[in-house]
Symmetry: C2
DNA sequence: ATTTACTCTATCGGGTAAGTAGACTAATGT
DNA sequence: ACATTAGTCTACTTACCCGATAGAGTAAAT
């Protein structure tokens, strides 16, 4: 299950990617536009900033903006940051491997093998999808009215 | 995250598939062999029986056995049964679709699109893997000493 | 100096996962 | 018949974490 935090984070990042990249967007505006509880979004954006994905500007005319090119912000990083490893089970994780105590021999464990396949499949999707590529995929289905 | 229930269920099913299919296996034996808390396993096996994946026999010489051919028991069914839909987000689920309230237009939602890809990828793995095929995959890597 | 808006810590309620306990029921063997 | 074996069922406990909110604090801009 994707947490609300991760979900809101992606929505917010996409919105920021869409907005003209130079002017900061206020938390309150973003919250209203994306239907996210403002105080909750606050927390999320702060996290994204600490990860280096966002910049902030304080005071009047302040707000948040992307710290990098949308083509170089991948969903994998965002999801891992809020929800932890992609693997359904710690022993199948690439980034946070952990042996499971109740497993005599990992090499012969069916759960391990199957879950490794699942993790690889989802990693392929999420680490292969950037804000920019996601945007263009959406536009391909429903063209923007320019 | 895969729940312990689902994980234990898969392990138990695999063990049952390996055991000579005609003699029932006792909960206690299965629990010891797979390092699962016996009372907890009890619950899990009961669930699997109610789903029609297992049969049981009471009294002396009793226990559990598979109700179907291992080639026709798919991980997807087991995981869904204990952990719910495979999709990371309800609006991306095939088997339990649910619109999300905070989404103005699903067709233009990046989260929806990306998560649908994730769900398809994991469904491809889990609905394509049976106990039998999983067993043979494991054996292919570490041949059994016959 | 004042306003604006981000920063940080603490807290709360509710839900759920993991595991345990114990009484009950059904089948088997002698 | 009856004791034994083993699955069935309900209820409970414990612990943890998610989603959300509150409020005081800090930094920047005009």
């Amino acid at each position: 299950m994707l947490s609300k935090k991760a979900k809101y984070a992606i929505k917010a990042l996409l919105a920021l990617a869409d907005s003209n990249g130079d002017e900061p967007v206020r938390i309150a505006d973003l919250a209203r536009a994306e239907q996210i509880p403002p105080k909750f979004l606050e927390l999320i954006l702060l996290g994204l900033k600490n990860q280096g994905l966002l910049q902030s500007r304080k005071g009047k005319g302040g707000g948040y903006l992307l710290a990098r090119d949308p083509a170089e912000i991948y969903l994998g990083q965002v999801v891992r940051m809020f929800d932890g490893p992609l693997a359904p089970v710690p022993c199948a994780s690439q980034t946070a491997y952990q042996r499971c105590s109740d497993c005599k021999n990992e090499a012969v464990c069916g759960v391990h093998l199957a879950m490794k396949e699942v993790r690889d499949a989802t990693a392929r999707v999420l680490d292969g999808t950037s804000l920019a590529s996601l945007r263009s995929k959406v536009d391909q289905i429903v063209p923007p009215n320019t």
